[in-house]
């Protein structure tokens, strides 16, 4: 199994384009181009700092957790919503490729997750500073509440609607992380990502920093085994409030 991110994603993107082009040729008009999904994504169980599984029914309303997925260096944001998420939200990634947001899992399907990387200018939830956070009240940038906000340029996303952009300059929703809930054990698994072009951009932009932080080889590997999910304040030294 290869861990070469750039190659994997570029090949994937090329394959998609080829399919789309072929379809265009046959039909004579543009058909939908679907967002990339990760090939063979890791199936990662979410655990706490002590290695104990996170239990879906133990999550409180509006509780948020940060974990690195699908890569060892890409942060994701999980939220236990206090409301029912929308169903069948159809949207597009930063490349304009279509996808249907798969929604949440667990009790009431209220547990959702997204990449903690803003698709506008790639500000992200870093260990030193979290530029994105989940706010239950109105924020500086909009009157909307229960939103994910990027403090760098004020993009605001609704996590109950596939991270639809409700304010600010972001061109597309946050990339969706797909989850699974095992009703027998009450455990939560991260199982994939949609709109993976974002990760290519992320690695291109932060290669030098990530190599320093995670090591020259490890920085672009896929997550392996259980992944630790932490409260935002435990994951980042400073969580910006804006």
């Amino acid at each position: 199994m290869t861990h070469d991110l750039d190659r994997r994603l570029f090949l994937k993107a090329c394959a998609r384009t080829a399919i789309a082009t072929a379809a265009l040729g046959v039909a004579g008009r543009p058909g939908p181009v679907f967002a990339d999904i990760l090939d063979n994504p890791p199936r990662s169980r979410l655990v706490d700092a002590d290695g104990a599984p996170i239990r879906a029914s133990a999550l409180e309303d509006n509780q948020t957790l940060i974990f690195n997925y699908p890569y060892k260096a890409t942060p994701a944001l999980l939220i236990r919503l206090d409301r029912d998420p929308a169903e069948g939200v159809s949207t597009r990634d930063t490349e304009g490729h279509e996808y249907v947001w798969p929604g949440g899992v667990g009790p009431g399907n209220r547990i959702v997750a997204y990449a903690g990387i803003c698709p506008h200018a790639l500000s992200y939830i870093a260990h030193d500073t979290a530029f994105l956070h989940y706010a239950t009240g109105p924020t500086s940038f909009s009157d909307h509440d229960h939103v994910i906000v990027c403090c760098a340029h004020g993009s605001v996303y609704d996590p109950a609607e596939g991270a639809r952009v409700v304010a600010g300059p972001a061109p597309a929703p946050l990339a969706a992380i797909t989850l699974e809930h095992d009703p027998q054990t009450d455990e939560i698994y991260a199982t994939g990502a949609i709109g993976t072009e974002l990760f290519v951009r992320f690695y291109k932009a932060y290669k030098r920093e990530l190599r320093k932080e995670y090591g020259r080889k490890a920085y672009k590997k896929l997550a392996e085994g259980d992944v630790v999910a932490l409260a935002p304040e435990a994951y980042s030294e400073d969580v910006l409030d804006c």
Partner: protein
């Protein structure tokens, strides 16, 4: 004309568009400059470029507008063959340079490679300046030769108008410009200003706010804060005097006035509603409508105008006091010529002349040009001005504004809309301030 392969609209479609464009240009008659070839005595060679692989778009100026334009033209229409003209060898950011003057951020954060921008985003950077334009033939004359194009976008930025201070004599204008550079056109002016601060002994350090719409509305106020803070930090017996023709700061007034009063009372004197009527270059004095102020050193920021290139190409609006381009305010093209566009700080619309405005606007204009090339039209969208200002350096604390624009339907009457103004300075906004810059540099130079 260079041989072109187009896979989007096909060669026939391209030729048809070309013909329509020529007809459009013909309607403006004498405005296109037939004498362009005279620049090179008719012998100018073609610029050293590979053959265009699709409709060629030349972007003039590697600032925030041009860099974003070049990248997003490629994104909007991948078969565009985009050439960015920028004579500077390196990019130096004006945004965040006030923090750099103080020492909050290092030089390497502000400088970026045009090579990186071009190779990461699929266009060509030609290190050349535009000299003249034959809009009928769609031929650009550059310092490295001619380029035949399908579209040209001018993002040349600003120049200064020293005559706005009553300094008319070019010799005196140069004295002012070189002795007390404004430092709103990077990078040499900025390097000189930083050296001045490091060398400063004592006395008044003079800063001025220009009249009219100028580059970076909060810039002079932020700079006053950063220099005042630097004087405090270095224990320099100096005082910043900020002369402003406006009644109060032109933006984020409450936040700036609070910082002036609470943080810099002893080292910063703010003089609102004060007009500069003359500069005594020999005696290092400015003459205002009230008094004469002596200074030990200064960064004198005059009224700005669209870059002289716009006027030299015959594209300035004769009615514009700041010599801004005569373009369709909603479509960005020169009136009667849908193959020549002007964006960024040379535009006539009263938007904030700022990096974020230029960046967000260029994405919109790029989509418009791509749509035009395909015989389509995209609806007008407002650019967005997201702008942080540092008011304290240690700890770093900032204030911010986020605004869009609305028009009266004709593109003449403009106003702000969707305004978010945060005048309470905070450390979180300070961190966001730096990330704001990093994010936009990533947008322009990286993936």
């Amino acid at each position: 004309m260079t041989e072109r392969k187009t896979n989007g609209i096909g060669r026939r479609g391209f030729l048809k568009l070309g013909a329509a464009g020529v007809a459009g240009a013909a309607t403006i008659g004498g405005k296109a400059k037939p004498a362009a070839a005279a620049v090179a005595g008719g012998t100018m060679m073609a610029a050293p470029l590979p053959a265009a692989k699709g409709p060629r778009v030349v972007v003039v100026g590697g600032g925030w507008s041009g860099l974003t334009m070049a990248k997003y033209l490629k994104k909007a229409k991948p078969d565009f063959d985009v050439v960015l003209l920028e004579p500077s060898s390196v990019f130096f950011s004006c945004p965040l340079s006030n923090l750099w003057l103080h020492g909050v951020v290092e030089t390497d954060m502000l400088i970026h490679s045009y090579v990186d921008a071009a190779r990461n985003n699929g266009y060509i950077w030609l290190q050349a300046a535009l000299v003249d334009l034959d809009r009928e033939k769609r031929r650009a004359y550059t310092s490295l030769g001619t380029i035949d194009y399908d579209y040209i976008v001018l993002s040349p930025g600003i120049d200064y108008m020293y005559e706005s201070f009553g300094v008319e004599d070019p010799a005196e204008q140069y004295m002012v410009a070189q002795n007390w550079p404004a430092a709103f056109k990077p990078a040499s002016e900025h390097l000189t200003l930083k050296g001045k601060l490091e060398d400063f002994e004592e006395g008044v350090f003079l800063l001025t706010v220009p009249p009219g719409n100028y580059r970076c509305l909060p810039g002079p106020y932020e700079r006053a804060c950063m220099i005042a803070s630097y004087f405090q930090k270095e224990d320099i017996p100096g005082k910043v005097v900020l002369i402003d023709p406006n009644e109060k700061p032109t933006i984020k007034a409450e936040g700036f006035l609070a910082a002036f009063e609470e943080l810099y009372k002893d080292v910063l004197e703010y003089m609102p509603s004060t007009k500069i009527e003359g500069i005594d270059v020999g005696k290092k004095k400015v003459v205002t409508d009230f008094e004469e102020i002596e200074f030990a050193d200064a960064a004198i920021y005059p009224r700005v105008r669209a870059a002289r290139l716009i006027e030299n190409l015959g594209l300035a609006d004769p009615k514009s006091p700041q010599k801004e381009a005569a373009i369709d305010p909603l479509r960005y093209h020169v009136i009667g010529d849908e193959h020549t566009y002007v964006a960024g700080d040379a535009r006539p619309m009263p938007f904030s002349k700022s990096g974020n405005t230029a960046n967000s606007e260029a994405k919109i204009v790029a989509r418009m040009i791509a749509a035009h090339a395909e015989g389509k039209e995209v609806p007008w969208q407002s650019p967005e001005t997201i702008c942080y200002s540092a008011v304290s350096a240690d700890p770093l604390e900032s204030i911010m504004v986020d605004a869009k624009y609305k028009h009266d339907g004709t593109g003449q009457g403009w106003g702000f809309t969707d305004v978010v103004m945060i005048n309470d300075r905070s450390k979180d906004l300070g961190k966001a301030n730096i990330e704001w810059g990093k994010g936009l540099w990533r947008d322009m130079f990286e993936a």
